[in-house]
Symmetry: C2
Subunit: 102 residues, 2 copies
């Protein structure tokens, strides 16, 4: 059975864990996810709210989408992004709380 304290980490788990933490290890992606924590946002809304280029936001959203950390719904030409992994978002929230208390 899966147990994080068992002898060895299998390589697939190791890969997923490192990829996911890597996704959370960049300030821009953290800011995007933190923004989405409160409400779904279009790509342009994110770019404006965080003052970063549209293409940068789009690239990072693709990254997060590949890891299934965000999803989107379409409304005309606008794509509204929102979190797609509650557990990872909870982990992000925990780390932010942890860091802001230090």
């Amino acid at each position: 059975m899966e147990n994080s304290s068992s002898e060895d980490l299998d390589s697939e788990t190791l890969f997923i864990v490192s990829q996911t933490f890597k996704a959370l290890g960049d300030p821009t992606r953290i800011r995007i996810l933190h923004l989405l924590f409160k409400k779904e946002c279009s790509v342009n809304a994110i770019a404006e709210a965080l003052d970063i280029r549209q293409s940068t936001v789009s690239h990072q959203l693709r990254f997060l989408k590949n890891l299934r950390l965000v999803k989107y719904r379409r409304e005309g030409t606008t794509l509204y992004y929102s979190p797609d992994d509650e557990h990872v978002m909870l982990i992000l929230k925990q780390m932010i709380d942890h860091a802001s208390h230090s």
Copy 2:
């Protein structure tokens, strides 16, 4: 008050959060921390257990030490490393469990 869902992340919190997740975003560092989860280990013991160079282990331990994620105690010429941040270790454990269930 600190609240992970408040409007903006201050830059210091953002920095700490991203640095900490970055620390967890590398397979070698994850393996080291996962090993230390079970028992304190010397540098050489880690290198042997994980089959990586001593200098690599030392470099990564310095990285983790700078973030206060590990600490050590000396016994003669041997340094025994162990986790130094329970909360971050708990977060790592959560992510491993999350990943191994997917």
